[in-house]
C-alpha cells in the first residue's frame, strides 16, 4: 500500500513534468502580468500584502529571495514583484 502511494505520487509528478516539458504555451496575458498584479495575487493568497513603503529596496531584495523559496514562486514572478515593490516604495 505504501509503495502504491509512493508510486502514484511519482507518477503524478511525472505526468505534470511531462506536461510541462512538452511545451504547453503560456498565454500572453499571463506572461504580461505586471508586478503589481502578481503582488496582489501571489502575496495576498496567504497573508496581508504590506505597502511597498514598508521596507527599503535592500530589504525587499531579501524578502523576495526568502518568499521565492518559501512560497514556491517562479523566478519571473519573484523578479517582477521585487521590481514593482522597489519602484513603488
Amino acid at each position: 500500500m505504501k509503495k502504491i502511494k509512493l508510486i502514484s505520487f511519482i507518477i503524478l509528478f511525472a505526468i505534470v513534468a511531462v506536461f510541462f516539458v512538452s511545451g504547453c504555451k503560456t498565454p500572453k496575458y499571463v506572461v504580461d502580468k505586471s508586478g503589481a498584479q502578481l503582488w496582489g495575487e501571489s502575496c495576498a493568497r496567504c497573508h496581508n500584502a504590506p505597502s511597498p513603503a514598508t521596507y527599503s529596496d535592500d530589504q525587499w531584495s531579501i524578502i523576495m529571495g526568502h518568499m521565492k523559496i518559501k512560497a514556491g514562486l517562479t523566478d519571473l514572478e519573484a523578479r517582477k514583484i521585487e521590481t514593482f515593490l522597489k519602484s513603488a516604495n
Binding site: K2, D58, I69, G72
Partner: protein, 382 residues
C-alpha cells in the same frame, strides 16, 4: 546539551554575519569575486501571547518570541534561519527552528541543505504560522502530538514552474526522518518528529507538489508524502518498522464583490500508516493497526472594502477538525476520550487586524473531552 552546542554555534554564526553586515546595508567584502556579489542581512521575527479560560483554568499561557535572520549572500545563495523561545511547558524553551542554505542552480530550481520546516500538507510549514493561522490553536492532529513531520534535517529541491494558465510549485527532500518511539510506555508506536540526528542508516524521502490550476492563483491543490522504510533505532527489533505519511490539501482565496469581502477556504486530510510491531508495553492491549488520520476544514471572511475602517479590520473564522488514533494505542485518544478513538473540535473566531502585521484573535472552541474553551492571542510580526 546538543541543543546548547547548536545554539552556541548558531549565535556565533549570527555574530559573524552581524559583524559583516548591518541591517540590510550591502557590503562589498567579496569585490574581487563577482560570483558572490554583495551580502545583505535582515532580521525578521515575531512575538505572540495567549490567554486561555475554561472550566479548570484561566490565565496567560504560552509566550513566544522568535527571530529569523535572513541573509542574501549573493544572487544565488541565500541563508534562512530561525530561533525560537517559548514558555509552553512552563519554562523558557530555546529551539533552533530552522537553518538552511539555499542555492539557485536554475532560475526555477533551488537546492537547500540544513534543518528546515518540511512542506507536509499546507498547514505545517506554512499556514500553521501564528500570523497566517486564523485561530490561536492548531486543528486537532495538526499541532504537537499530531501527524507528520515538524522539522527535518537533510537536503532538497524547491521551486515553481509556470505551465500555461496553471502553475506548479514543488518541494522534494531527503532527510533523517522521524524516529519510532519504542521504549516509552506512554508513547510506544508514535514518533519523535524533531530529532537533530538520524537513529539508523535509512533516510526518509518526502515532498509536496502544489498545483494552482487558475491563472489568478486563487486555488491550490496539494499532495504531500513522507516515506521511511526503517524508523526504529538501529540494532533493535524495531529497526525495520516502516512508516508512510500522506497529506492532501486545498486552499482557496477570492474577493467577493457582492459582499465586499475576502474569503479564504482551507482544508487538509492526512494519514499515518506504520508497519505492525509489538512493543514491550502492549502485551495486554496490543494495537493491531497503527494507523492515524486527521483532517480539518476552515473558512474565513474579512469585509475588506467597506467604508468603515473598523469593519475592514475584522475577520470572522470557522473551523472543524477531527483526529483519529489507533485503538488501544497508549498515546491514543481513546484513553482520554471515553467516546472512542476520535476527537473532534469546532472553533469559532473573531479577529481584529491592528495593522497588516499585528493581529488579535478571539476564539471559542468546543472539543470532545477537553470541553469548551475561550482562547485569545495577540500576534505581532516584524
Amino acid at each position: 546539551m546538543k541543543k546548547f552546542y547548536v545554539l552556541i554555534f548558531f549565535i556565533g554564526l549570527l555574530v559573524c554575519f552581524s559583524a559583516m553586515a548591518q541591517d540590510s546595508i550591502p557590503i562589498t567584502s567579496q569585490v574581487n569575486n563577482p560570483m558572490w556579489g554583495t551580502k545583505k542581512l535582515m532580521i525578521t521575527g515575531g512575538a505572540e501571547a495567549v490567554f486561555v479560560s475554561d472550566s479548570s483554568q484561566q490565565g496567560f499561557r504560552n509566550i513566544k518570541f522568535h527571530l529569523a535572520p535572513l541573509v542574501r549572500l549573493g544572487e544565488k545563495l541565500f541563508l534562512i534561519s530561525e530561533i525560537e523561545i517559548e514558555t509552553k511547558d512552563g519554562v523558557a524553551d530555546f529551539g533552533l527552528e530552522q537553518v538552511h542554505l539555499n542555492y539557485a542552480i536554475l532560475p526555477d530550481l533551488t537546492v537547500y541543505a540544513g534543518r528546515f520546516l518540511p512542506k507536509f500538507g499546507h498547514y505545517r510549514g506554512m499556514m500553521g504560522e501564528g500570523y497566517l493561522n486564523r485561530f490561536p490553536t492548531d486543528p486537532v492532529g495538526f499541532g504537537d502530538g499530531g501527524i507528520g513531520p515538524l522539522v527535518e534535517t537533510g537536503l532538497g529541491i524547491v521551486g515553481g514552474l509556470q505551465m500555461g494558465y496553471s502553475k506548479l510549485n514543488y518541494d522534494f527532500y531527503i532527510s533523517n526522518g522521524p524516529h519510532l518511539i519504542a521504549n516509552d510506555a506512554n508513547m510506544a508506536g508514535n514518533f519523535e518528529y524533531e530529532s537533530f540526528l538520524n537513529n539508523n542508516r535509512d533516510m526518509a524521502f518526502g515532498g509536496r507538489v502544489g498545483l494552482l490550476p487558475f491563472a489568478n492563483s486563487s486555488l491550490e491543490l496539494g499532495l504531500s508524502t513522507l516515506q521511511k522504510t526503517k524508523t526504529g533505532d538501529i540494532h533493535t527489533i524495531y529497526n525495520n518498522v516502516g512508516a508512510s505519511w500522506m497529506a492532501y490539501d486545498l486552499s482557496y482565496y477570492h474577493y467577493l464583490t457582492s459582499l465586499k469581502s475576502t474569503v479564504r477556504v482551507y482544508g487538509e486530510y492526512k494519514t499515518m500508516n506504520v508497519d505492525q510491531a509489538r512493543y514491550p508495553f502492549d502485551s495486554t492491549v496490543a494495537f493491531k493497526s497503527n494507523k492515524s488520520s486527521a483532517w480539518y476544514v476552515q473558512g474565513s471572511l474579512r469585509p475588506t472594502t467597506f467604508d468603515l475602517q473598523f469593519l475592514n479590520n475584522i475577520e470572522f473564522a470557522l473551523r472543524y477538525s477531527k483526529f483519529t488514533t489507533p485503538a488501544n494505542a497508549p498515546w491514543g485518544n481513546a484513553l482520554i476520550n471515553s467516546a472512542g478513538n476520535s476527537i473532534h473540535q469546532w472553533a469559532y473566531g473573531i479577529n481584529y487586524w491592528l495593522a497588516w502585521d499585528c493581529l488579535i484573535k478571539f476564539s471559542y472552541q468546543r472539543q470532545s473531552f477537553d470541553g469548551n474553551q475561550f482562547i485569545s492571542q495577540v500576534i505581532y510580526r516584524f
